[in-house]
Amino acid sequence: MQLFSLGLNHKTAPVEVREQLALSPSRLPQALQFLRHAHGVREAAILSTCNRAEIYAVGTHEAAPQLERFLDEFHRVPTQRLTQHLYRHADADSARHLFRVAAGVDSLVLGESEILGQVKSALSSAQQHGAMGNVLDELFRRAIACGKRARSETAIGRGALNVGSAAVELARQIFGPLAGHTVLILGAGKMSALTAQHLVASGAHQVLVANRTYERAQQLARTFNGEIESDLPLLSGIPTAHSEAVTWEEFPRRLVDADIVIASTRAPHLILSAETVAAAMKARRHRPLFLIDIAVPRDIDPAAHQLDNVFLYDIDDLQGVVNTNLAQRTQELSLVEQIIESEVGDWNKWMGALDARPVLAALAQHAAQVRDTETEAALAQLSHLSERDQQIVRGLARSISGKLMHAPLRHLRQSAEAFPGDVEAIHRAFELNGGHENDTQSTCKENNSGDGDAP
């Protein structure tokens, strides 16, 4: 029983190649069926995202070439054209690769967490279509656990990696929880709307929109209200906020109500002077004001940053936050690799024990059978013995067989991974019935019910 994987990702293949192997959800069942019925394949799973296409399979040694045949016949992409982009792994390397993927180490954006959900859905769709078996099931569960561990025990998933989340991070350092705070958008553009969405998703409860053309302000305000559908990708699923359109002339007065101002107009000159901000601060009784200027050329007078309780960040500053966070994530890599290695070690133990488990069961069963047959045959000839004496004889037999089998059973349990040949030797030496390959399926089931991580 071996584990194989084959795939390509954003590092090894350009998008023109990746899109040829992309699987729509509707074709996934067919693909899994194809793999499942390929010669030598017992279990299969497919991890398909926009950045990677990977196939995992468990089977005999004949299963490996079947994966390439799948690309050839199912995707109708000749393997020769893909060879330079493909990576192939087996056994521990396959496991290591999936663990790295789940931990976000292999992602385009280091440590991003979306991949964890994608690994989960690869697991559940393979389960749903009957392609999952004990081994892959265990592998994917362990991969998900490994991904969670990496993100909770290290900082690989921490720190904003886009301008919108960086704005949220900064706002939290100024205001603490954002609940009850108001966002003012100057310039109803896509960038400012996206940034405001991040803030609303983090608790900001009111959005004011000012724009030179009032109609556009009204339109954006209505999307935040939830009155009209947004064409922005992020907005679906984000809680709605109280929102209000503000005329362009009115906005300086509304600086009193706002805590966070996002400016991104296309104006070629400054639209918010430091004097206006200073006047607003007085009216605000010096409550802190967070100004985000993501316009190029800039909208807000940089001198505003010098005012007490005013914090002005432009697009470069926010990008700086993102870069710092990325550097911090990179520093965490070695720790994540340690976690992955320890998980791979555990996986190897599990796989080693997998081979031993049916032999273990068969051996124990064999011993019990011999013991019971012989004891009962002897007792049949000793019918004069009292019930108590019979119990003593049975106890004697149990104790002899127990003591004899203790050492080999323990050896099998503990050193299956270290000496895989021993499993085979014991299997032959005791002339145990049934190949241990065949028993794998039935005897492993019980070991799989433990750690529930099912999506």
Partner: protein, 282 residues
């Protein structure tokens, strides 16, 4: 029991100081080695540091309580006694309310303050031998006066530490130095609210405590020139500084760096009035 406590008080306090000191080093180490309270599952060694500093502080506080019970009346009449009482209360309150500003970051500032106070209390041990003047103890008012002042000091020490954290965070945000420490510092608004509340509470108790103290003194020694006692004057100056902060924050809407600096000045004055200014009477 009391006798044994009195005899071992000096040794006991040394252990207390040692516990506070090691805990302080651990808290600092936690900060410098990227201790991040917000990572869900702290790394094992970091967790171990956090746990051991907590255990050390609780042990220290328990031993400190033992040592204090051995001091009897000196606790309220001698400056060293009051300093010990203050250090003890500060750690105790920190342990009870540690999560408010972030454990490691606030502890890194609170524990040193308590440590200095406790070290100072060691200068006059064994305190039980310093026989308090009996007439000073004849009234319960002294105990009330000192307790109130100590609680006020604890609240104002918290306001002071929160101000330091605020100034640090504000400085980082203004200079746009957004790495390392800044995520472990409390947000400006959280720190600001805590400064305001702690100062309000502290000032109320300080007012009452000072009032009781002055009235008690006047009744005890009617001809004592209270307003020429430098300690009293400095205490009033301290009171005034905190009062200025509180009214400016409350009624004039002052906020931010300069306002919170007033709290820092106030705390410095408070320390001077406590340590630096002897009562003329003594």
């Amino acid at each position: 029991m009391m006798e044994w406590l009195s005899r071992t008080e000096g040794t006991l306090l040394l252990w207390v100081v040692a516990a506070y000191f090691v805990a302080m080093i651990l808290l600092w180490a936690q900060l410098f080695f990227h201790a991040d309270d917000s990572v869900e599952q702290p790394r094992p060694w970091r967790q171990a540091m956090g746990l051991s500093s907590r255990i050390l502080l609780w042990t220290g506080v328990a031993l400190h309580l033992l040592a204090l019970t051995g001091q009897g009346g000196a606790l309220f009449t001698l400056r060293a006694g009051v300093a010990g009482l203050f250090g003890f209360s500060l750690i105790l309150v920190f342990l009870v309310a540690e999560a408010r500003l972030g454990r490691a970051i606030s502890g890194a500032f609170i524990v040193p303050v308590a440590l200095i106070a406790t070290l100072y209390s060691l200068t006059e041990t064994p305190l039980h031998r310093a026989v308090p003047q009996p007439e000073l103890l004849e009234t319960q008012w002294l105990v009330v006066h000192v307790s109130m002042i100590v609680i006020a000091y604890v609240a104002l020490a918290f306001a002071f530490v929160a101000s330091l954290l605020y100034l640090l965070q504000e400085g980082l945000l203004k200079r746009k130095q957004l790495h390392g420490l800044w995520q472990r510092l409390p947000s400006l608004q959280v720190a600001d609210t805590l400064i305001y509340r702690a100062t309000g509470f502290g000032l109320a108790l300080l007012s009452l405590g000072l009032f009781i103290g002055i009235v008690w003194q006047q009744r005890h020694q009617p001809d004592y020139p209270v307003l020429r006692d430098p300690k009293v004057l400095f205490s009033l100056l301290t009171w005034l500084t905190f009062a200025v902060y509180l009214s400016a924050r409350r009624w004039l809407g002052w906020r931010g760096r300069r306002t919170n600096l007033v709290v820092v000045y106030g705390f410095v004055l408070m320390v001077i009035s406590f340590f630096g200014m002897p009562h003329v009477i003594q």
